[in-house]
Amino acid sequence: MRDLAEKWSVPPDWRNATIEVPGLKIGAVAGLHQRLVSGDLAAWAEASGFDGPAVGAFGLAEGMRYSVRLARDLLLAVSTTPFGMATGWFSEGFAVTEISAGLQVFEVEGPALDAFIARGTTLDPAGPPSASATLSFAGIGAIVYRRQRSLRIHVDRGLAAYLWTWMETVAANIATGSRN
């Protein structure tokens, strides 16, 4: 019987996977707690104590815990510490779903970051603010925003290996001065 698994490259060990070329450093971020919140987002902010606006595309996320806007009635809550809140439906009008294992997070930094972004999306990071951080990046749906001086990208875990190979190719092209 044919082993179709050979058609796919083996995903790297995310705990120590890095891509490093002149001007660019890419790594996986582990240990983040992530939850999807849908419904009445103002009621959720009040109940959870998540203060500050949810960041949109290329928005700057600050603090130990923050929220990222995905749609009009949907956001992603991110925290470095466990949430002190249950999941499920809340009578205040919102629902909370655990998704930490479903989204792989990458962080990209370095002086060549703008060149990296330009290869991933047509959305101008210096353009007018865009309310939702979900956008087409490297041809797949991704959640993209800034964290300190880095770019953070959340993708479905099943697409993480693809995005990693895409980033390896792009980093190599940037390092060699290729326009691709």
Binding site: G56, A57, L70, A71, R72, L74, T121, T122, L123, G127, P128, P129, S130, A131, S132, T134, L135, S136, G141
Partner: protein, 88 residues
Amino acid sequence: MQLFPCPFCGPRDETEFHYGGDAGNARPDGAEVPIESWTNYLYLRSNPKGTAREIWVHMSCGEFFVMERDTVTHKVLSSTALGGEHAA
């Protein structure tokens, strides 16, 4: 590449959007719907030359909206979110 205006996100690449058909093409309702109404609903499209009102969805954020655009010049005239409280 063309930019389409999502009512929630603002201008985005056209590849993030999906066409949803003519605006106003409501599904016939009731048990005694004439076959002509079903035919109009299922098969006939207005395909105007000039201004067209269409349903689109921004797949990144899931926003459904009505976009008014010129089918000759491709100029987008307006985009309006569907749904009462969000309608602009």
